[in-house]
Amino acid sequence: MHIPDGFIAPQFYLSAYVVTGGAWLWAARGLKQRLDEEIIPRLAVITALAYVIGMVMLPLPGGSTGHLVGIAMLAMLFGVRLAFLAYSLVLLLQALLFGAGGITALPVNAFAVGLVGAAVMTLCMGLRGERNPLPFLAAGTFLAVVIPALLIALVLGIQPAIAHRDDGTPLFFPFGPEVAVPAILLPHLIIGGVEALLTLAVWRYAKTRGWLA
């Protein structure tokens, strides 16, 4: 779910930098007060876990491959703002070291996966009230993967309309939403299910350690 460099028109990613830059500032406000000696080591380990699972390719039906995301477990343990910042760091490292996702596409990837994904997970967990958290955990994780995937597919799908040559040939990502949405969304239905199992395992571990609020 990383958009590489060269897939998005400059007018789109420059606007995305402005919007996501504002979100980064919002997330960083009051950061010092939210970080303490207990949270930082946990945040370090879970961020490193998100980085690693994002690099492990899973074979998917149809010969394609995909990878887990890790935003749901970050949001579950640290809330939207810290999860968004930590996942942006993960995306930056993956882009710089592996070329997985681009620097120009970083604000789009960070906004869709880091911010929207974390917000969806937090919203789902907030709906549980006093009820059994497991269905909300599973649904939240699944949606925290699928909704960002849909957003990214739509962003890619509108690129031919945004930037094209005089003869209509796309200058950047060449497929419209009718191709991009199913091609990106369908594998993420499986990834979302697998990620729900991972988040559940992290939740059980965090619960035994007393990390959950």
Binding site: M1, H2, I3, P4, D5, G6, F7, K32, L35, D36, E37, I40, P41, L43, A44, T47, A48, Y51, V52, M55, M57, G63, S64, T65, L89, V90, L93, Q94, L97, F98, G99, G102, I152, A153, L156, L171, F173, P174, F175, V179, A180, A183, I184, P187
Partner: protein, 147 residues
């Protein structure tokens, strides 16, 4: 009789004039061996990136020199001629791909466009090291603040 001879000559002349244009509606082939550049597109697990859209532009420019789809083995074959620097863009429908500029010197037998210095495993460990050391520094600042 003289008229018939003139008419036949005229017909012959018309045929001669139009014959080349009639032939131009056909398709002719010229096949020869040339030195070609072969780009191998692969997933990170070394499986071929087959049947994906690509666009190849000369001199790192945007005007496409060649475009199409990679073959079943994930190959893109092109005739580089005297051009050394190329820009390759690859797009798969599921949002994967690459946008890279590479150099292919005349007479070169192989070329890796990725130019990887470190293995993926080394980069994975490097990334974890950067993350943990970054948070370690943050921990030091938080401890100092509390004192």
């Amino acid at each position: 009789m003289a008229v018939t001879t003139q008419f036949r000559s005229f017909l012959l002349l018309v045929l001669l004039v139009y014959a080349p244009s009639c032939l131009s509606h056909g398709v002719s082939l010229k096949i020869e061996r040339q030195e070609a550049g072969v780009i191998w597109l692969q997933h990170s697990d070394d499986t071929p990136l087959a049947d994906v859209e690509y666009e190849l532009a000369a001199d790192g420019g945007n005007a496409p020199y060649q475009s199409g789809k990679s073959d079943a083995l994930g190959r893109v074959v092109f005739i580089p001629g005297d051009v050394r620097e190329w820009r390759l863009r690859v797009f798969s429908e599921d949002g994967h791909g690459i946008d890279t500029v590479f150099e292919l010197a005349p007479g070169a037998t192989s070329h890796s466009h990725t130019g990887q210095t470190y293995s993926d495993f080394t980069k994975l460990i490097l990334g974890i090291g950067i993350l943990l050391s970054g948070f370690g520094v943050m921990m030091l600042f938080v401890k100092r603040k509390r004192r």
